[in-house]
Every structure is written in C-alpha cells, then in structure tokens.
C-alpha cells in the first residue's frame, strides 16, 4: 500500500517536471498526434479505393486500429520503466541497484522510474481514430459490449505491458557478461543487443504479433461489431482476451522475479 502511494508520488513528480515547459510539451504532443495520424490517413486513402478488404470496411478497420493505438499508447506511458531502451541503461548505470537499496517494492519502483507523459500523443491519436470509426459504422451497442470494451482496452494494455516486462527481464541475462567486465574496469560497454533475441524467433513472433492480433484485436472486434467469422470459431474465442492477458501478466511477473533472483546471484 505504501509502495502504491510512493508510485503515485513518483508519477506526480515526473509529470510536474515534464510540464516544466508547457508550450514545448504541448507542441511535442501535437506533433506526435500529427505524425502518427499520417500513417492512418495514408492507409485510409489507400483503403478508399476498395470498398472493403476481406469483408471489413474502413470504419471497422479504424475501430480495431484506434483501440490498439490507444491501448499501446497508454501501456507505453505506464510501462515505460520496463521499456528495454530505458531498462538496459538502467541496469548498466547501476540505477537498478539503487532501487534495490530502497525499502520499497521493486516492481512498483521500476514502474515509477519512468513515466512518459508525451505518450498522450499516441493515446489522443488512437482515440481520434476510434471516434472517427464510430462515425462511419453503426455499432449495435449492448450492456455487455459496453462492459467488455473497457475490459478489452485494459487487457490490451496489460498484454503489451507483459511483453515489455519480459523484454526488460531478458536484459538481466544479456547484461550479465558486460557487467562482469565492469567489475574490473569501470565504464560500461554501450553495445547491447535487442534482448528478446534470447527467445527463438517463432516464439517471439507468436507472442508479439499473432496472439495479440488474433485474440486481443480480431475476435473481440468480431463480437463487438457483430461480424461473422469466416473461420467459424466458437463465440467464446471473442472473450478470451482478459484471460489470456491475466495468464500472460502472471507469467511475466513470475519471469521478472526469477530474473531479479538470477541477477542477484550471478550478475552485476
């Protein structure tokens, strides 16, 4: 509980420090929205030459696209402490050791170590695409759908967040060799490979693209938009997202704790 309070305190302080130059912050967010939005505009222009692709029209694709963008942006804001671009240097510079020297939950400290407010750009862009999609299509809303939609967003956030945590954890192993060199000569080695590479390629592909695309985007959209699935999967598949995410997040946290244990017994 105290650690949760600390997490919010850390986030609040970082927001304050990132808002120190409000004009530049706002410009950064706006330029983020515009640049990211261009991808969608280019896609939509291409799409407009066809009526639909595989039975999906532009509005329906925008629905899926907007949700995923919004979720990923939200995830990237809250989980950016686990972003391997940030976490690798954090281990290398010994900042992770500093967190271990603080009497607070280590996972929440990593969450609080980095909070990137300008990811609001991606969230706004995702939300805009989502709202635009609703203007193109007629969704037959039911209570269940209205409950499922936020649950789906949370699932997507935590699913991608789990991947970030797993990616961060792998750096405990990829850093190991470099860090042992550091014992003998201070000054880190700046070279680091993309840590996910310790997993074989098919496994990476499965969890970074296939599972999220099928179970967290496609089938939930089939249900909410009332599409018929050409593969004829049972209806339950549309509701697997929260369960798949719960398992994935549990596994990620287990792996994370295992990584920390390994780091303390062999690394740094």
């Amino acid at each position: 509980m105290r650690s949760i309070k600390l997490l919010f305190h850390l986030i609040r302080l970082q927001i304050r420090s990132q808002l120190q130059y409000p004009v530049s912050f706002i410009l950064e967010v706006i330029s983020g929205v515009i640049i990211l939005g261009f991808y969608f505009v280019a896609f939509a222009l291409t799409f407009s030459r066809f009526d639909n692709i595989g039975g999906w029209n532009l509005g329906e694709v925008a629905f899926v696209w907007g949700l995923a963008e919004f979720s990923f942006g939200t995830m990237d804001m809250f989980f950016s402490g686990f972003d391997y671009d940030a976490f690798g240097p954090m281990i290398r510079r010994g900042q992770f050791d500093q967190l271990l020297l603080r009497p607070a939950n280590i996972t929440l400290q990593v969450f609080g170590s980095r909070f990137v407010l300008r990811r609001l750009g991606k969230m706004i862009e995702g939300l805009a695409i989502f709202i635009y999609s609703l203007s193109l299509i007629q969704v037959d809303w039911t209570t269940l759908k209205l409950i499922y939609l936020p649950l789906l967003v949370i699932s997507q956030v935590f699913f991608f967040g789990s991947l970030f945590i797993i990616g961060a954890t792998t750096t405990f192993w990829t850093m190991e060799r470099l860090e042992i060199l550091n014992i003998f000569s201070y000054g880190g080695n700046e070279v680091m490979s993309y840590p996910m590479h310790i997993f074989p390629r098919p496994i990476r592909m499965l969890f970074t693209y296939i599972v999220p695309a099928i179970l967290l985007s496609y089938y939930p959209a089939v249900y909410i938009l009332g599409k018929t699935d050409p593969l004829g999967a049972p209806a339950i598949v549309s509701f697997l997202a929260p369960f798949v995410t719960a398992v994935m997040f549990w596994l990620a946290i287990r792996f994370w704790h295992f990584g920390i244990k390994n780091y303390q017994s062999s690394g740094s």
């Binding site: 600390l6 305190h9 302080l13 420090s17 009497p103 607070a104 060799r177 014992i183 062999s266 740094s268």
Partner: protein, 340 residues
C-alpha cells in the same frame, strides 16, 4: 560488543561465459555454455564493531565492490556467512535496507530529472522518516554540506562535487546505523574532498554511525580511518591500524641531492638512484638499513654537494608498492589484529 558486520569465509565466484558464435551458436548458448570461473572474493572474514569507521582498500579488481555488493544485499554470496545489523542482506532486502545507507561515488541515488528538494522529499516518504527527525537532520546536513545554493536544481545539472554532497546528505537522512561509502571523493578537487571528509568524520563521531569506506584515495583513509582492511585478489591481506602498516612498509625515505659539479657516475652504498637530471639526483633508501646522517656523511666524503633534502616516501607510493610488489603475501600478519 556484538559486531554490526560479521563476515566469515565469504566467497563470490563469477562465471564468465564463452559464447558460441553465429546464429546457431546463439541458440546453442541457451543450453550449452562453457565458462571460466573467477574468484572475485575468496574466503574473506572480518568483523566491524558499532561506531567504527573502517577503510576498505585494494587495487582495481581486488574484490572491493563485490564485497560491498554482498554486504548491501545486491549480490548473493557463493559461499560463506555474513550477518549485517542482524539481517541476512540478500534475503531480507526491504527490512535490511531500511536501516542502512549507501553512497556509490560513481552513480547517484537521487532522481536525475527532479530538483534536489523533491529527491529529499521522496526519500522522506520511502523511508517513512518522521517529520521532526527529517527536519532536524536535513537542516543540520544542508548547513555542513552547504547545499542551499542548489536545492532547487535538478540532479542532472549539478557538478560532481555538488552531486556527491547531495548524495551524502540523502544517505544519512533516515538515521541509518550503518553506511557504505564507495569512492565518495572520486574525481573531486582538494577543497571538495576536504568538505566531504569533514562531513564523514562529523557523522561518525557525533552520530555514532558505523561507516565502511571504500576508496582509491589513501589520504581519505589516512585522515578518517583508524582501522584499514586491505584486499587483493579476493583475499584480505591486512586488517589493522594504518600506522602499523606504515611502520613496517613505510620505512623508505627519499634523499634529493644537488651536486656542485657534474659527476659522470655516482655510487652510494645502501641507496639506489631513483631519478637523475644533470646535477640533480634523487636517491631512495631504507630507514632501517642506514640513517640519513650516515648516508649524507658518506656522500659528502666522496662528492661536493650544493644542496640536499630528506623526505619520507609519500604514503600513496608506499601503498602502491605494497600492491605492486605484493609485499603482504607471506607476511606474518595476524589478520585478527585487535584494531577495535
């Protein structure tokens, strides 16, 4: 008294992996890896009593940092026992670190982008420091360390000396009973070093905090620590008073002579020529073998001398000699020298 740090036969081995090359090799690395074993810390034993200020020194790669990492709970030992403050550091991390402090000169414990006051405020929250204790300590430390001019500055914009002072302040705010200082004066100028030494001394003497100081700068140890531990190749080579060490090994003296004329060859029994620059010659000799006056007599009998000066060998040189010539190996020191 019950020791605050108790270390027995502590060892830490590192595996340095030799990787297979190429794509297939990367896959093989997952299952089949060959490694070399490095004994970073090799059977170290020592006790530290509450209130002591102990210097922990040794050449690069001697095992200092690895020992500190085990003592602070960042690393799990390969073998041996250690108890600090009644805790097993790596097992009871959160309870243990609440009662200790640590400063690593190479890295900061503070939040990079936040103003210093915010960092201190966070520390107050993390350690649950009661307001009155926090205020008393903070006001006291900021005065000694002269923090006021940069309290509103983010850590990333501080100079090394300012950052170090801020880190020291942060490490003592929660009244830790034991603090590890790893190279607190590294890269600092003479004035900044002195300010930091004064603070360390103040904390140790006034607040009774036990301090284990790791340093490259032997003058830190000379000014602050009565007791010193020397480690090399993972083994403790000396545990006792610095004065004892210097009495045994610091016996070399330096004689600088300016001769009145240019002698092509100068021979002086019991002394060796360290450096020669025209008429200027620097000798070094052992205090135990010959006295300075005898040496000067011997010299003036054979040569005409314009000027001369006798000095003790600087302490840094003595320590370096101890490391380089491995003088402590096979030396009959009782490692349990009762320094406390």
């Amino acid at each position: 008294m019950k020791p605050i740090i108790s270390v027995q036969d502590l060892s830490k081995d590192f595996k340095i992996y030799r990787n297979h090359q190429g794509y297939l090799g990367a896959f093989r690395n997952l299952f089949d890896r060959k490694f070399d074993l490095v004994h970073a810390v090799d059977g170290v034993s020592f006790d530290v009593q509450p209130g002591e200020l102990v210097g922990y020194i040794g050449p690069n790669g001697a095992g200092k940092s690895t020992t500190i990492k085990m003592l602070t709970g960042l690393l799990v030992p390969t073998s041996g026992t250690l108890g600090v403050n009644g805790y097993l550091p790596w097992k009871q991390r959160k309870e243990y670190v609440r009662k200790i402090g640590a400063v690593f000169g190479q890295r900061t414990t503070l939040w990079w982008d936040l103003p210093l006051t915010d960092s201190f405020d966070l520390i107050k929250h993390i350690y649950d420091i009661p307001e009155n204790i926090f205020q008393a300590n903070f006001n006291h430390f900021r005065e000694i360390l002269e923090l006021d001019p940069f309290l509103g500055t983010p850590v990333r914009s501080l100079s090394l000396g300012q950052r170090m002072r801020a880190d020291l302040c942060a490490a003592f705010l929660h009244n830790p009973s034991l603090v590890f200082l790893d190279e607190p004066t590294i890269g600092l100028d003479v004035v900044a070093k002195q300010r930091i030494r004064d603070f360390i001394q103040f904390i140790n003497q006034e607040m009774g905090t036990t301090i284990l100081l790791t340093t490259h700068d032997i003058s830190d140890v000379q000014k602050l620590c009565e007791r010193v531990l020397i480690i090399d190749h993972g083994k403790i080579l000396f545990d006792g008073k610095l004065a004892t060490l210097l009495a045994d090994f610091g016996g070399r003296r330096i004689l600088s002579v300016e001769f009145a004329e240019n002698y092509p060859e100068i021979n002086l029994k019991d002394a060796e020529v360290v450096r020669r620059d025209g008429n200027q010659v620097v000798f070094s000799f052992e205090r135990k073998t010959i006295s300075a006056s005898k040496l000067i007599n011997r010299l003036s009998a054979d040569y005409r001398i314009a000027d001369l000066e006798v000095q003790n060998q600087p302490i840094e040189d003595t320590i370096r000699q101890i490391y380089e010539d491995q003088l402590l190996y096979n030396h009959p020191y009782d490692k349990k020298d009762p320094a406390s």
